[in-house]
């Protein structure tokens, strides 16, 4: 298996291997024409995503962005499986942004869910065509030939033709409808652990991320942006007229101060022949900024407003009201009530935003780590007023994204500068830029209030949530949380209760809000799981026993507000199963040493079910997490090892936000700037992690990248309560 084509072009590999060690230009040139050169003329291309050349090479084109989730591998696994190809002869190419591929927006943990059948069909159709081609050549019935492991074989097993030998003939056949798909038992790659196609190149330092590409005569830009959203450049007090290596200092117009917020932020671009020169000059600049309505924005004040909001009635989720909550509260009883708070978060992918662009009258070429190259292409075309066909957006590997790179603002910056300077430009964001100018994960406050019986069962449950909606980046007037945000762990609360009300409030923030891995599930999963634990604790019950007792034994959730798509409704039996399994996996009943506690949480999101148990204690006044146990039910999965990796990674990501993450704004400006004041989890804090996958059982595929995150923070808080008796209700936990 090779990961070639435009992510790791052959010529650069030759360069690296041919010259021992150094003095090799790590260029990765535009992909224009590259695939055509690498492959012989007219390969057998029964589908946009699959081509077989006459030497037998199978090229699978991945049209989704690779950011560590292993999608390039998974897509190839599915196609190669139905094709019954030899994995060693499969290559993966990366698609540019183009509507012809269908949806390319790599977010929402939806790549496999959206494409599973289509990819299987692509492989199966090609396999059938290869059989048809062989049958024709041998003048036998197609039913009498088999296609196995890159060969078509006749009934006696005497005659054999390789896929490559049949490719030219197969290319002349019409693409069949209804080609037979394999049964689960016949799968060769689907459901099997496969090392990622890019693993080898990554491990040898040979793969290409956004900053690793260069174009001839390319300059590098560092942009100094206004600390508050919507401010522009009034003056540069010390603009250098000339410095060695300096190419230009360009003033970029400010972003709007309110949605839609997809334009670049503007600022002062320092363009230089090399990165360090640009950094040095950018850091030396003294810039006066113009005001904007966001200059007065203060995250502490916003948090206070969110707190006030949940103490008042909000907007009821349509259809969520059940029974008479107020009457039960008026009657009184054993009341449990709590407020939960989470802060702004930055994505901080290891690779900060970076993009290269080469714009001329002839067209625009962009190469960048983007989650949605297709929408980026459209935005760039309209930004330049250029025909879509003249804009080419190609991808590198994404050095992490977590939602940040779904916005192509950094690519637009490169486009603008390249156009102005009439040469290729790379825009490199520094870590400080990344932390201070992100599309931030929204802060939130929830208020949960319940009357419970002596078993901890809620008789009445009122839940309120308040947060700045992501819709504020789409429209200047937007304010209320959208149904799709509430559907993330709030309006689809799965517990049976006779009297229930759900209310929400949105408050406009003075910064850009964005998607962060599992989005509103982060805070809704947190508050609901901790509150459930509080109800169990108030009744003195085992948390898992209590949770199972709160859940219906079967059936599907009839979800108010925004119903789930058919076949993807929350299934109580599946939710119960991950709980039962994590209870076993964690040896929940086994007594832990004094001071060590277990915490449990479960959450359904992106159509997958995840139950998590963390084992934690307080050591020298800080939380110490010794073990993590995770059970995932994502229906049919393609690569179990990638699923396990995503759960392991989700534990780390979840603990980062539970223990460390917090972004604050003062006078519109973000206070934090780098990993010293926006710390993320380091290796010594990462617990040993056991992951179990629920067998696929022919179920529909569901999300994997995000659903592991929501249960982590509540499991931690619940474990710390079990360990120390102290209940932490605000994130990050500051013990």
């Amino acid at each position: 298996m090779n990961a070639i084509a435009n992510l790791s072009p052959d010529f650069s590999r030759r360069g690296f291997l041919g010259v021992s060690g150094v003095l090799v230009l790590g260029a990765c040139l535009p992909s224009r024409g590259m695939l055509g050169q690498e492959h012989q003329a007219s390969p057998f291309e029964p589908n946009l995503l699959l081509a077989i050349s006459s030497d037998g090479t199978v090229r699978v084109t991945c049209h989704r962005s690779e950011m560590g989730q292993g999608i390039r591998t998974a897509i190839a696994q599915v196609v190669a499986d139905e094709l019954d190809a030899d994995w060693a002869r499969v290559e993966v190419a990366q698609a540019p942004g183009d509507v012809k591929y269908g949806d390319q927006n790599t977010d929402g943990s939806i790549s496999i869910l959206l494409n599973y059948e289509r990819l299987r069909t692509a492989g199966a159709s090609a396999r059938l065509m290869l059989r048809q081609a062989a049958a024709k050549r041998w003048a036998v019935d197609v039913e009498d030939v088999r296609a196995v492991h890159h060969e078509v074989i006749d009934a006696d097993g005497k005659r054999r033709l390789g896929y490559g030998e049949l490719a030219t003939d197969a290319a002349l056949l019409p693409v069949p409808i209804g080609a037979p798909l394999k049964s689960e038992a016949e799968h060769r790659y689907i459901g099997k652990p496969v090392v990622h196609v890019d693993a080898e190149a990554i491990t040898r330092g040979q793969s290409h991320f956004g900053a690793d590409c260069s174009l001839p005569n390319m300059a590098t830009a560092i942009i100094v942006r206004c600390p508050w959203l919507g401010g522009g450049v009034r003056a540069i007090r010390n603009k250098p007229s000339n410095a060695p290596g300096l190419v230009a200092i360009e003033i970029l117009p400010p972003a709007p101060s309110a949605g839609p917020l997809f334009a670049p932020l503007g600022g002062v671009a320092v363009v230089a022949e090399d990165t360090w020169t640009a950094i040095k000059i950018a850091r030396s600049l003294e810039i006066e900024w113009t005001n904007s309505p966001n200059h007065g924005f203060n995250s502490k004040a916003l948090q206070e407003s969110l707190r006030e909001a949940v103490m008042k009635p909000g907007t009821p989720v349509p259809g969520s009201g059940k029974g008479d909550v107020d009457a039960v509260f008026a009657k009184g009883g054993n009341e449990v009530s709590a407020i939960y708070e989470t802060p702004f978060l930055a994505h901080a992918p290891m690779e900060p935003p970076v993009a290269i662009a080469d714009v001329s009258e002839k067209g625009a070429f962009v190469r960048a780590p983007l989650q949605d190259p297709q929408s980026a292409r459209g935005l760039i075309a309209s930004y330049l007023g250029m025909a879509l066909e003249k804009v080419e957006v190609t991808l590198t590997l994404l050095g992490g994204a977590f939602g940040r790179k779904s916005k192509p603002d950094f690519a637009l910056e490169a486009v603008e500068l390249s156009k102005r300077l009439a040469r290729p430009v790379r825009v490199q964001w520094l870590r400080e830029d990344d932390i201070r100018h992100d599309y931030y994960h929204a802060p939130s406050v929830q208020h949960h209030r319940a009357i419970i019986d002596n078993q901890g069962m809620p008789q009445a449950w009122l839940q309120r949530t308040a947060f700045p909606s992501i819709t504020t980046v789409f429209a200047a007037q937007a304010q209320a949380p959208a149904p799709f945000e509430l559907e993330q762990g709030f309006s689809n609360l799965p517990y049976a209760v006779d009297h229930q009300r759900m209310e929400s409030t949105g408050i406009r923030p003075g910064v850009r809000v964005g998607w962060l891995r599992s989005v509103c599930n982060v805070f809704h999963g947190f508050s609901a799981n901790v509150f459930a634990d509080e109800m169990a604790a108030a009744a003195g019950r085992d948390a898992i026993e209590h949770r199972l007792a709160m859940l219906p034994t079967g059936g599907k959730l009839n979800q108010p507000g925004m119903p789930a798509p058919a076949g993807h409704e929350l299934d109580f039996a599946r939710l119960r199963e991950v709980i039962e399994r994590v209870r076993k996996l964690s040896q929940w009943q086994r007594p832990r040493p004094e001071g060590v506690g277990l915490g449990f949480a479960v959450h359904q999101s992106f159509r997958s079910y995840v139950a998590t148990v963390l084992e934690a204690s307080m050591v020298n006044g800080r939380p110490h997490i010794s073990n993590a146990y995770v059970v995932l039910d994502c229906g049919t999965y393609v690569n179990p090892d990638s699923c396990i990796a995503q759960m392991q990674g989700a534990v780390v990501f979840g603990l980062s936000l539970a223990l460390h993450g917090s972004i604050d704004m003062e006078d519109g400006a973000v206070v934090q700037s780098n990993f010293h004041d926006y710390p993320v989890l380091r290796i010594a804090e990462a617990p040993a992690t056991k992951v179990e996958l629920v067998p696929a059982q022919g179920r529909l595929p569901a999300g994997v990248g995000e659903p592991g995150v929501p249960p982590v923070a509540p499991a931690l808080v619940n474990a710390l309560f079990a360990a120390s008796g102290v209940r932490y209700r605000s994130l990050p936990v500051t013990a």
Binding site: F16, S20, G21, V22, L23, V24, G26, E66, M67, G68, Q69, G70, P193, V195, H196, D198, A199, E200, I202, T203, R204, G205, S207, H208, F209, A211, D212, S214, T220, G245, D274, T275, W276, P349, M350, E351, P352, L397, G399, G400, F402, L430, R431, A645, Q648, G649, A650, V652, F653, S656, N674, F675, H676, V680, L681, R682, I683, A684, A686, A688
Partner: protein, 157 residues
Amino acid sequence: MAYTLKINEQLVEVDAASDTPLLWVLRDHLGLTGSKYGCGSGYCGSCTVHMDGSAVRSCQLPISSLDGRAITTIESLDKQHPQLIGAWVRENVAQCGYCQAGQLMSAAALLNASAHPTDQEIDAAMTGNICRCGTYVRIRSAIHHAAAERTSTGASE
């Protein structure tokens, strides 16, 4: 200013300002893009290389301080530590991969100093390397496997 550096066993000439960090020398001047920029301030370890066999943050080392030093980058790690590369690939350690060159260089320096590190030693040696994707448990396991393989093949003797 012109400097002569020893990088991956080769002498190379670089013309750069005296305060240019080694990271940018490698990436911009020599086209060795395996070492990554993650923070520029010594916090993340993405830029880790070896200087005379020890792990250092190349974003913190100005070119003027490298006279007479031997620098090794990820691009030639397989010469000394093929077992690490092998274990990393077999265990599918990398997710996005951006931090991994730095992780591998820190792991290699650890194995140079300690043939069979414990989990605690691994945590201590690797604490300067952030992985936002959270591959830490696999990093620990891959280091153990590489250490075992090195001993069995006599590579660490």
